[in-house]
């Protein structure tokens, strides 16, 4: 049933390509209907599944001579991320409602990207996962290169090449793992149980973690993210920062940590204070949190603030993963969901509501306009988004970040403090951006906005309400997602992970 999310999306692509050349309205409607249909399927699947155990969705042999199957399955983690994709997809299309230039192709690439992402989250055969993962790269390029803004061709190429480099690393480990496991199967369940030799895991784990980590914004391989997200059109930025970065984090969890858990064990010796890959990546995650926040603090371009904040928030995900505590991993998965929603919201406000109207993203320029009076809805939405983003209780970010910090305290107490510092800096840059952009200095040479700005349209309001509503819902009742995430992390697939850490 859940496999239909993939098929519906690609079917939508096909329909869009067959539409006549200049049909903008039809293109939008087709895209929206497709996204809603996909979301409906996921919601049905989510409600059906009481707990987070693994449920096979489709399983047919694909290349029998190599033991590769077309195996789709979902557990609690997949469901959470599928849900995220569905929600961001629908709101992304709503926020792209004003797309006129080559609209057909835009929505076609958009739906192709969504379909591939669904595929990654549902795949339980490693090659199939890789196929969908790579498939997602191409629509990204075109979405940015054709419809983007600041330095779009450079940004698109940089994003794609970084992603591809990351997936090249993954491919190396994929092929090696396939061969070492006997060239019989690439099924994730079986590979998770296969006892890979420890020295193999010791180099395979970091390679594949970095490979996926590049897409997740692991410092210092994150530089593609701010450039790419800023250059991308709004709907694409929402999807890129909201969902595609989670592909990387999902890969880190599902492939690197599930298949090669021994790679996280202690080396037995210490280099520069690090005793295991776990220490290294935890530190890199922490640096990402703090560095991303500090750089966001000094940005002049509004969208860059949001771009760097994405890097900072993804650092929480990676830190949570490295804690190897139940609560830390819960927090990491929940943060994947929460940040997906919130970054979508932030990019929507900055890109669609502000930039499309004020035609500038420079904070100094925006300070002179009275945006909070001209587009109060945008101001209000950004305030809510800002509150959620800094981790105010009542929104999804709070529960997630609290869990990550609690987990980090067990594992790396000093890093927990660092993460707290990151949150504080987060408050600072969010507040700064909000003040400057919407509530500029009163009087004294105000440059009133030249003409009244176009009002916030209905699709934008709908999109904003959806995203805010979801964040508040999960903030007040996170059990909705935790009830599937926690059992999924307890499943036998992750046994190797818990065994080593002793918790």
């Amino acid at each position: 049933m859940l496999a239909w999310t993939i098929y519906i999306s690609f079917l939508g692509v096909l329909v869009l390509l067959l539409l006549p050349k200049n049909s903008v309205r039809a293109a939008r409607i087709v895209a929206l209907l497709t996204a809603i249909a996909g979301f409906a399927v996921i919601a049905a699947g989510f409600l059906q599944q009481r707990s987070g155990e693994l449920v096979t969705v489709a399983r047919v042999p694909w290349i029998p001579s190599l033991g590769i199957e077309y195996h789709l399955a979902s557990d609690g983690i997949s469901l959470t991320l599928l849900l995220l994709t569905g929600i961001v997809a629908v709101s992304g299309i709503l926020f792209s409602w004003n797309m006129e230039h080559r609209a057909r192709e835009f929505f076609a690439f958009y739906l192709a990207l969504i379909g591939s992402v669904y595929g990654v989250f549902l795949s339980f055969d490693l090659l199939l996962l890789f196929v969908f993962y790579e498939l997602a790269i191409i629509p990204k390029y075109f979405l940015i290169a054709i419809w983007g803004s600041t330095r779009r061709e450079y940004a698109a190429m940089k994003l794609v090449l970084y992603s591809f480099a990351g997936s090249a690393m993954v491919l190396i480990v994929l092929v090696a793992a396939y061969v070492v496991a006997g060239s019989r199967t690439l099924d994730l369940v079986q590979l998770a149980q296969f006892p890979f030799p420890v020295h193999f895991q010791m180099w395979a784990f970091p390679l594949v973690f970095v490979g996926f980590g590049i897409l997740a914004g692991l410092w210092p391989f994150h530089t593609w993210a701010p450039t790419g997200h800023v250059a991308a059109p709004t709907g694409a930025s929402m999807l890129l920062a909201g969902v595609v970065m989670k592909l990387g984090a999902y890969g880190c969890l599902r492939v690197a940590m599930m298949l090669f858990p021994r790679g996280l064990d202690a080396w037995g010796f210490h280099v520069l204070g690090f005793g295991s890959w776990r220490d290294v990546f935890a530190l890199l995650a922490l640096i990402g949190i703090v560095y991303g926040a500090m750089v966001a603090l000094v940005q002049r371009d509004f969208k860059f603030v949001v771009g760097y904040s994405s890097v900072s928030h993804m650092g929480f995900v990676l830190l949570g993963l490295m804690t190897l505590q139940q609560i830390g991993l819960d927090g990491a998965v929940l943060q994947m969901f929460s940040h997906g929603i919130l970054s979508g919201l932030l990019f929507a406000v900055v890109g669609r509501m502000v930039y499309d109207r004020a035609h500038t993203r420079d904070l100094a320029e925006l300070e002179k306009t009275h945006l909070s009076k001209a587009i109060p809805f945008a101001a209000g939405t950004f305030v809510v988004a800002a509150m959620a983003s800094i981790g105010l209780p009542g929104f999804s970010g709070f529960v997630a970040e609290v869990q990550v910090i609690l987990g980090a305290w067990h594992a790396f107490p000093l890093f927990a403090v660092g993460a707290g510092v990151g949150i504080v800096i987060g408050i600072a840059y969010t507040w700064r951006a909000m003040q400057k952009a919407f509530f500029g200095a009163p009087s004294r040479g105000t440059v009133a906005v030249a003409s009244p700005l176009p009002p916030i349209t209905l699709p934008e309001r709908l999109g904003a309400f959806i995203l805010i509503g979801v964040s508040i819902l999960i903030g007040l009742y996170p059990q909705l997602l935790l009830r599937v995430i926690v059992p999924a992390l307890h499943s036998p697939l992750f046994d190797g992970l818990w065994k080593g850490s002793g918790r």
Partner: protein
């Protein structure tokens, strides 16, 4: 000498005979009936006859598959070789179909018959294990290709390309022959299997190493592997597009098959190893070095190209490097991976050349800027080109990705117990990642850049569009369900 029935020999080589007859028919029909007809009609008739001939040959092969080993390895037919022949014939048919409507020459029937003769030579090339027959077929192939490259008499580039091709080809043929003669001297036989059994000894004769290197030079030239690749960019750029496509596709398949046969069967026992900590001298390290050089050089130089044809040439060098991985792994699995890769690559690059031909005929050039905005001027062709470029880059679920995956896993699995060839696989994957840049550059011009103002949509003949779509479809299909081809191989 046992008495041998020439009739039975003819029976065995009936497919080749059919193709030769087809070539002659094309020539004669054109000479006798179509002297005054217009080019398009002549082309269509000739192509039809060629296609008929090839189809008949395919039909015959499928109808009566043969297994034979005749005259001490001069003619070796087994199911695998015959399937490769079928693949070659299909590629020829596609080439011929695309040729209809080309305007670069009036000698249409000569062109078509040359293509068919080249096909015959390739069919012989894959069905022999005798050094002399190999050389003969190789020469027949080469000569046909030289002429095909020179066929555009109005272009100096074409002549220059053909001349370069000829000179390089001649030199490398000399190397090859020298190597073969050394092999003969060492083993007193010109049959690959006999050579192998004779050479199987504990130590490696230094002369044998010289022979290996010589043979590698000759064959390396054929597959355009660095550092024997210098002809490739100029030929790809100068030759008429159809010829370039033919050279890039079919001849590669046959040449790789040959390379595999010579190295793995002929020089069995002298492999050596290029595993990371297990170096042993033999032909495998030589091939490994050539492969590594090709991958690196091909990809890095391609980045800087502005002419799409030259870009395809350097990418061909790179892909040759990847394919050589299949050779140096020398297992059955790697052989089928090699063939899969070569065939799908041939299809893809042929399709790419068709699109290049279309753009050239319309805009007069093949640099990247000529491709600007193609997606709006010829959407179907642009979409097919996207499939080809992405397949070459190795993006799933296209055939190029699966070919690479299969090759790499076969390479790693070839050293049981260790993963000795990992270094080469890592290099291959890394270079493959680099290649995405220039393929994407082409796609950027096609999809992102706006077409120059006031350009009209390009009109493409239905036949060409059909062929393009067919090739694109097959690339996608073979990628999504590689079993279709693997099963067969």
């Amino acid at each position: 000498m046992t008495a041998f029935s020439y009739l039975s020999l003819l029976h065995l080589v009936l497919p080749e005979v059919i193709v030769v007859i087809a070539a002659l028919c094309v020539l004669s029909v054109d000479l006798m009936f179509l002297r005054t007809a217009e080019a398009r009609l002549r082309g269509s008739v000739g192509a039809l006859l060629s296609v008929a001939g090839c189809a008949a040959a395919i039909g015959w092969i499928l109808h009566t598959p043969q297994t034979a080993n005749v005259l001490n390895g001069m003619l070796v037919l087994n199911p695998l070789a015959q399937r490769v022949q079928i693949a070659l014939l299909i590629l020829t048919m596609l080439t011929v179909l695309i040729f209809i409507g080309s305007t670069f020459t009036e000698h249409i029937s000569e062109y078509l018959s040359l293509i068919l003769l080249a096909t015959v030579s390739m069919m012989f090339l894959v069905s022999t294990q005798n050094l002399l027959v190999i050389f003969l077929s190789l020469e027949l192939l080469s000569l046909s290709l030289y002429i095909l490259a020179a066929f555009n008499k109005r272009s100096t580039r074409s002549a220059e390309a053909a001349l370069k091709y000829f000179i390089f080809g001649g030199i490398s043929a000399a190397f090859l022959l020298f190597g073969f003669s050394l092999l003969y001297g060492l083993s007193n036989s010109i049959n690959l299997t006999s050579i192998a059994s004779t050479l199987h000894g504990p130590a490696l004769d230094p002369l044998l190493l010289v022979a290996i290197v010589m043979v590698m030079v000759g064959l390396g030239f054929k597959v355009a592997a660095a550092p024997f690749h210098f002809w490739a960019p100029d030929v790809y750029q100068g030759a008429p597009t159809i010829s370039a496509g033919f050279i890039a596709s079919s001849s590669k398949v046959a040449s790789f098959f040959l390379l595999y046969q010579v190295m793995v069967i002929g020089l069995a026992g002298a492999e050596g190893s290029s595993a990371w900590h297990g170096y042993a001298s033999g032909w495998v390290p030589v091939v490994a070095i050539v492969a590594a050089l090709s991958m690196v050089l091909g990809n890095l130089v391609a980045i800087m190209q502005t002419s799409v044809r030259r870009l395809l040439a350097y990418s061909a060098i790179a892909h040759g490097g990847y394919t050589l991985l299949g050779v140096l792994s020398h297992t059955d699995q790697s052989f089928s991976a090699l063939l899969y890769y070569a065939i799908t690559y041939a299809l893809t690059v042929l399709g790419a050349f068709v699109v290049v031909a279309l753009v050239e005929e319309e805009t007069g050039g093949d640099t990247l800027s000529h491709f600007a905005g193609l997606s709006r001027r010829a959407p179907v062709a642009a979409f097919c080109m996207m499939i080809f470029m992405l397949s070459l880059a190795g993006i799933p679920p296209l055939a190029g990705f699966f070919g690479k995956f299969y090759l790499f896993s076969a390479a790693l699995a070839s050293t049981p117990g260790t993963i000795g060839l990992l270094w080469l696989v890592i290099l291959a994957i890394a270079m493959s990642a680099v290649s995405l840049y220039y393929y994407l550059k082409v796609l950027k011009y096609i999809y992102v850049t706006d077409p120059p103002a006031g350009t009209a949509p390009i009109r493409i003949s239905v036949l060409r569009q059909a062929v393009l779509c067919l090739i694109a479809l097959s690339v996608v299909l073979l990628g999504c369900a590689p079993n279709l081809l693997l099963h067969w191989l």
